[in-house]
């Protein structure tokens, strides 16, 4: 199969030349960088084939270095983190221009991720909380970060914080998605080897299985034929049985509305699936797809009873879109009368 762009192709054509690979981060926690480090000795077989030309967490490279790259010179950029500032936008647009392939690496780049929960509130609220209201903040003049500032006659400019968080593909064209918070080393290794071998899947593919997590869940046999949720329970206040299907016991587990292939790491740690791999193909909105299935399986024969059961689910938005709020159909909370530029 002919690889997309010219980066991966040219790198393969000369045997001595190493494939150039870039890593970049936007709004992220560093867990995805850790996932690369966690490849450990699994990375050895590819080390003599690749050259890492950009990796801010580990290597010192400047913006000018990247600007000097020839178009297509770098085969693939793995970008983690969601995008919410003008600086991040500038960087990802530059990487898109210079690199043959762009892979959205991890849940934040793929779906918005945990930083995407900021879309449940507003930029103004976030800034006020962080810089003015928080009890540990001492800011008597109530100064907030500004894009343009004058200090001693000099104009200073900071990156602009956007009103909302976006996954990578709402900012630039994305070739592939490596899902997960963080992506498991096995999936990263498989993706790297496929790219090096030029065996690329269809553009836009999420590099894991298309089946939902329940298909491979070790607790699947304990799922009753008919689920019935009398009330929702929380792992914060009640300990789940370590062998039962979480849903059967009323714990919200996003397994039915989430792609598998993660290795069921959370399930084995007695943590219900929180949905970091995103919805399976065909489901365009992870949260409402979950409601479509589980919502019908709650108890309640009257509207009042159904409302009482629904009220036991704490924070539906944060629970059903823990990793995918910016990629949901509605994307962010609506704030009436607030005029954005």
């Amino acid at each position: 199969m002919e690889p997309h762009g010219n980066g991966a192709g040219t790198a393969q054509s000369t045997k001595a030349a190493k494939t150039k690979v870039a890593f970049y981060w936007c709004a992220s926690c560093g867990g995805c960088e850790e996932a690369v480090v966690d490849l450990a000795e699994a990375i050895l077989p590819v080390l003599d084939k690749v050259e890492i030309v950009l990796w801010p967490v580990a290597l010192d490279y400047k913006l000018e270095d990247v600007r000097a790259w020839r178009r297509g010179e770098v085969a693939v950029a793995f970008v983690n983190g969601s995008v919410r500032s003008s600086e991040q936008e500038m960087w990802v647009e530059l990487l898109r221009e210079k690199c043959g392939l762009v892979v959205a690496f991890g849940a934040c780049a793929h779906l918005g991720g945990i930083p995407g929960l900021a879309n449940a509130t507003t930029r103004d609220e976030i800034l006020a909380n962080k810089y003015q209201r928080s009890p540990t903040v001492d800011n008597p003049r109530g100064v907030l970060p500004q894009r343009d500032t004058r200090v001693d006659g000099a104009e200073l400019e900071l990156p602009e914080l956007w009103h909302s968080v976006r996954p990578l593909d709402q900012v630039i064209d994305v070739d592939y998605y490596l899902p997960g918070c963080a992506p498991p080393p096995e999936l990263i290794g498989k993706a790297l080897l496929a790219i090096l071998a030029g065996q690329l899947p269809q553009k836009g593919a999420v590099l894991t299985t298309d089946k939902s997590l329940c298909e491979t869940c070790p607790r699947n046999p304990t799922k009753p034929a008919e689920l019935r949720v009398e009330r929702f329970r929380r792992i914060a206040t009640e300990a789940p049985d370590p062998t039962h299907c979480f849903l059967a016991d009323g714990f919200v587990c996003l397994g039915p509305a989430t792609r598998g292939g993660c290795g069921e790491r959370c399930i084995r740690g007695n943590m219900p699936c929180r949905g970091c791999f995103g919805p399976p193909p065909g489901a365009i909105d992870q949260g409402t797809k979950f409601l479509a299935s589980l919502g019908a399986l709650t108890a309640g024969e009257t509207e009042a009873e159904a409302a009482a059961v629904a009220a036991t689910m704490a924070d539906p938005l944060g629970t059903l879109y823990r990793f995918s709020l910016p990629a949901s159909l509605l994307r962010a909370r609506r704030v009436a009368k607030e005029v954005h530029r």
Binding site: L317, R333, E338
Partner: protein, 144 residues
């Protein structure tokens, strides 16, 4: 240019057995109701995936009506009960997005209740005129 009063766009999911037949009855009885509702016939209100509702709001609807058979009358025994339970959760979810309960309406309309259907559409339209446009694209999707 004259400014026209706001006319809400309402998407209605009507079950084929009761609510849609009720709407038909309103039509053949020549009962008047506002033209703001666009009806989509579904086999059962239980077919209405909550995804349809959020997609309607995201794509410009100011209100969504789901109408099915009265509880106990479902052609498929309990499809409307499933909708009732989904809507209970969905309204809580929508509230967190900033979409109030008054924009999503769940109603039971039998095939004989043409007048009731017309009244629901009249009330809902009037209510949404008061509330004003949801304008999801303008408020959320278009901003950075």
């Amino acid at each position: 240019m004259t400014t026209r009063p706001f006319e809400p766009k309402i998407l209605g999911f009507l079950c084929r057995w009761c609510a849609y037949t009720g709407a038909d009855l309103a039509g053949i009885s020549r009962t008047k109701y506002p033209p703001n509702l666009t009806a989509i016939r579904v086999m059962c209100s239980g077919r209405v995936d909550p995804t349809f509702v959020v997609k309607a709001f995201a794509d410009g609807a100011d209100g969504v009506l789901i109408a099915g058979c009265h509880p106990g009358d479902c052609h498929y025994q309990n499809g409307n009960h499933k909708t009732m339970r989904r809507v209970a959760l969905l309204t809580r979810l929508l509230a967190q997005y900033g979409i109030g309960r008054e924009r999503l309406r769940l109603e039971w309309v039998s095939a004989a209740e043409g007048d009731r259907f017309a009244r629901i559409v009249q009330e809902f339209t009037a209510q949404l005129r008061q509330l004003g446009p949801l304008a999801w694209q303008q408020f959320v999707a278009a901003e950075n």
